[in-house]
Symmetry: C3
Subunit: 409 residues, 3 copies
């Protein structure tokens, strides 16, 4: 009798689980299937949500967009455009019909990786497709191109962003607030070389000004492997402008190279579009709260608009700040980039201890939250949160780069 009751309870529990969420498999390479153009909304689901939402999958055309799918998640407050064909990257985030997160790259199309040769231009082929708000740089390697110690050219920022997602799944909670979850598996699989599989997960709640990534990298090989990841998060107009500011909880900052030395003191403020500026990169050692949670904030000059990046320093122990305040056409943009590693070539990061190992079968989790700051109050609150984490910890300024690239070959 007792057992019977338990059994019934389990069944009920399973039934409850079955109805907790509705799930749509949009793409699945294991079965070889894809739904094509597709859409769902609170209305089509019969949900009378207070905040309307929709998720749409659309095939793009024209130029190098041949065969590219985008996934447009509208939570009623934000419209997030993901690119399954480009490693589940985030192209842009819109609000009130205008882009709020993202930037204007010279690259206008959403480029199918089929048209990209990553090793071209001495390993700079990645630049042919770079225009997203979020690019994952990884996982076999993450940094600048160069020949690694084993003689192999490591192309800029790894391969994952130019890898089409093997599977894409949309899940919508039955119960309010009807959380929307987008899962996409991106696989770096090369016989004898890599079995690094990343289950990317984006979560967003209807009506919210925030969305979060919860990625799980698994080394499916029977051998330990190196890995690296940078969350290359890029922001241009409208947040970036002359006088815009970045605030990040950190204990150390240093120039990436000699050129960045000149900008070290003013690392927190931005120039307007500046001809011949090119890029200045700074390496930060971020700090977190008791749980390791850190925060970096970028906001516009008058503090009425911004973005906050939440991440955890136990997962992503370093932060790269990329200031590319060159001209508008050149791509006026800044990158706030938590990662396991800086942007140096892998061979320079091994001595720094920034090329971690993932054991055979092991999984690594990475959580990054993006909050759109919509007014002075939200910006202030986020800035105060950074200050709170910073507390009394001083920010040490190293005047010399961590790596002496002048000796690089």
């Amino acid at each position: 009798m007792k057992i019977k009751t338990s059994y019934a309870a389990i069944l009920l529990s399973l039934a409850a689980m079955n109805t907790q969420a509705v799930e749509f498999v949009l793409t699945n390479s294991a079965s070889g299937e894809d739904v094509g153009n597709w859409q769902v909304s609170n209305q089509s689901l019969g949900l009378s949500a207070n905040t309307p939402f929709s998720v749409e999958k659309r095939r793009l055309h024209g130029g190098k967009q041949l065969g590219v799918d985008v996934l447009i998640v509208n939570n009623g407050e934000l419209t997030i455009t993901l690119v399954p064909t480009r490693g589940m990257g985030i192209l842009k985030v819109e609000r009130d019909g205008k882009r709020i997160l993202g930037w204007d790259s010279p690259v206008k199309e959403v480029v199918n990786p089929a048209f990209i040769d990553l090793e071209s231009r001495n390993g700079l082929g990645w630049l042919d497709g770079f225009n997203e708000m979020l690019v994952r740089c990884g996982y076999e390697w993450t940094g600048h191109p160069g020949v690694d110690d084993n003689g192999q050219l490591l192309s800029l920022h790894g391969r994952v962003q130019n890898t089409p997602a093997s599977s894409v799944k949309v899940t919508i909670d039955d119960a309010a607030p009807h959380k929307i979850t987008i899962e996409g598996e991106v696989s770096e699989r090369t016989f004898k070389k890599a079995e690094l599989v990343t289950l990317t997960k984006l979560e967003v709640t209807p009506g919210s000004n925030r969305f979060s990534l919860h990625d799980t990298l698994t080394n499916q090989a029977d051998y330990d492997d190196e890995y690296q990841i940078i969350y290359h998060s890029n922001f241009g107009r409208p947040i970036l402008e002359q006088g815009a500011k970045v605030i990040a909880a950190a204990s150390e900052i240093s120039p990436f190279n000699d050129y960045a030395k000149a900008g070290l003191k003013e690392w927190q403020t931005y120039l307007g579009p500046t001809k011949n500026f090119d890029e200045m990169v700074f390496n930060l050692k971020p700090i977190g709260d008791a749980d390791g949670n850190s925060l970096a904030v970028l906001h516009n000059k008058n503090g009425s608009s911004g973005v906050a990046l939440g991440y955890n320093v136990t997962q992503l122990p370093v932060l790269t700040l990329w200031k590319n305040t060159d001209t508008e056409q050149q791509g006026y943009v800044t990158g706030i980039e938590p990662g396991t590693s800086y942007a140096y070539n892998t061979k320079y990061q091994r001595p720094l201890g920034l090329v971690p190992t993932i054991k055979a079968g092991e999984s690594k989790h990475f959580d990054v939250t993006y909050t759109v700051l919509r007014n002075n109050k939200e910006v202030s609150q986020a800035v105060n949160k950074v200050k709170e984490i910073q507390g009394q910890t001083p920010l040490k300024q190293l005047t010399q780069p961590l790596v002496d690239l002048s000796k690089a070959d």
Copy 2:
């Protein structure tokens, strides 16, 4: 009252403009759209043209043609096949159901650039897809493969031909003779490297034996850039044959390399298919009329069939003559190639002053006209036109190549 009248006049004028032509957008990467297979004709437009015409867009299949679109323009006299997926190149031109312009390459398929790795074979990957009547070689660079002064491998003949068109538009004039215009935008966009956008335009009038290209290259970057272009125009059977002749208005000719020295004297006449001939290349300095308009003519042995290339020496100051009269299977073909530059690697052309600069925001225009010569009279007229331009200017024969490739690394 006067103003009112003017206003009305403007409205009328605008209305007239609106009805001057009917326009079809076939592909547009900005909106992510493409019409798919598509066709229009004088009949479908309700135009009782004296000369019937049609324009058809068709998706190819099979082998490396996966995803390739061709655009077939039939003006009643000529059938011109354009390849939007391959940089708006011209595959071939037919007349009376037979190819009149073009050649038989060992490459039989219309290859999707997705299958081409331009830097393969030490920069010769371009050869995997080369089979068109017109290939644009450019615009970042144009010549033979080699490592440039900055250490980057420049692959053969640049990237533009292996770049799918971002947009394709067909315009047909309402009024007779119902000129057909095909516009295709081809973009070379790489973050920090290039923003060279070319609006290619082909114009042809129903019933005409002539079509023309009017291309506009714009440097959309905020920085000046180098550029180079060669209109690699290739002709085999039926025009090319033993005894065929080329006539070009020019003031100087020189062999491209040591091998071509032996053919300098006979540069104007062609051999039949000749085993082990490989290719001989000659560099010409063309001359134009008072307006800079020059002409080159290729005709068959008895002068009953040919093609005339019109171009302007102020836009395209040099002319490459490529004689590839090897065997039929190897590709029996000649190239008559007006350009800003010869076919040397860029590093050899800078000292020759043949690597021009395009300023930030600047546009460069290139006009090339192809006329199919259908009988002895048309050939004679074209040859006479060349002689007229040549006038009393002697053709200086330089026996040594402009570049000493024997010293090349």
Copy 3:
């Protein structure tokens, strides 16, 4: 009157030929056409075959499978999955709903060559897509990556497997046993470099446990060329296991490199999945019967399941045995690989006389038969056949590799 009769006879003969088989053209790059998803079966053909059969063409989706077609041939006994998009390779063979021939590669998707850059990772890009039971390695070159004598990097195992088939044709005999023939043309065509066209042909009879390949390589160029081919035939579970055995009629065996020396004595038996085993490769000189027909057999430990490869030593004079009994996730697999050549880079095989020439216009034929051995009796018969061919010929064991790779650059 006599002539008239003959003429009628010819007509009758032609009519008979026309009805001997039904033919379906699935893909044809010459006409630019493709049937899309497609299926035929004994039922749809109105054939009341004793053994049902079907052939299905299906487009895959997901990840790097974008645009990939598979062709699934079910003869009632075996289900053979071919991949037209990957050079007509054979992905796997199933029996009773389970894979019998093939293996579990870390590469899970059927990768479109558009996503592969063969020259990446110093010429190892081929590893991004390697997961088939049969990969053809050729035809311009076949072996390990390396810079050839002419300065060109030859990428691993050639280009043909990453070349989509230009045409695919299915033929089914009208008369019982209704032999099924799959023909696919795979073209390696590069201007001035190669015109190697292979008509692959797979034949299988409904109900049979055997299928065969009859490939014809033609050099369509006007010049002689080198060529190489390895039939890289790969088997994992269920046949491969600890104690599995390989038997091959051969007169000589040698280790491929120094590492393989240690496994020379035990070349016929297999380890179970073994960490850090990596791969051991052996070079065999096979022998055939009076007609040159040779046989190699792989069977499981208890001899109840296996596969026999029949090939002809006049066509394929060498045999590579690839023992990759590393861990399951790493790819537990062995390759039994008849070929014109071993797996060394081309430059090392020229001195061995293993880089044959194909004359201009010449064709070379290659026949390979795969027999699924379903029980101890079939395994025994196959093993006895190998012994019969071996006869009294001793197997000479060379302890040193044919090529001294320690001196390789």
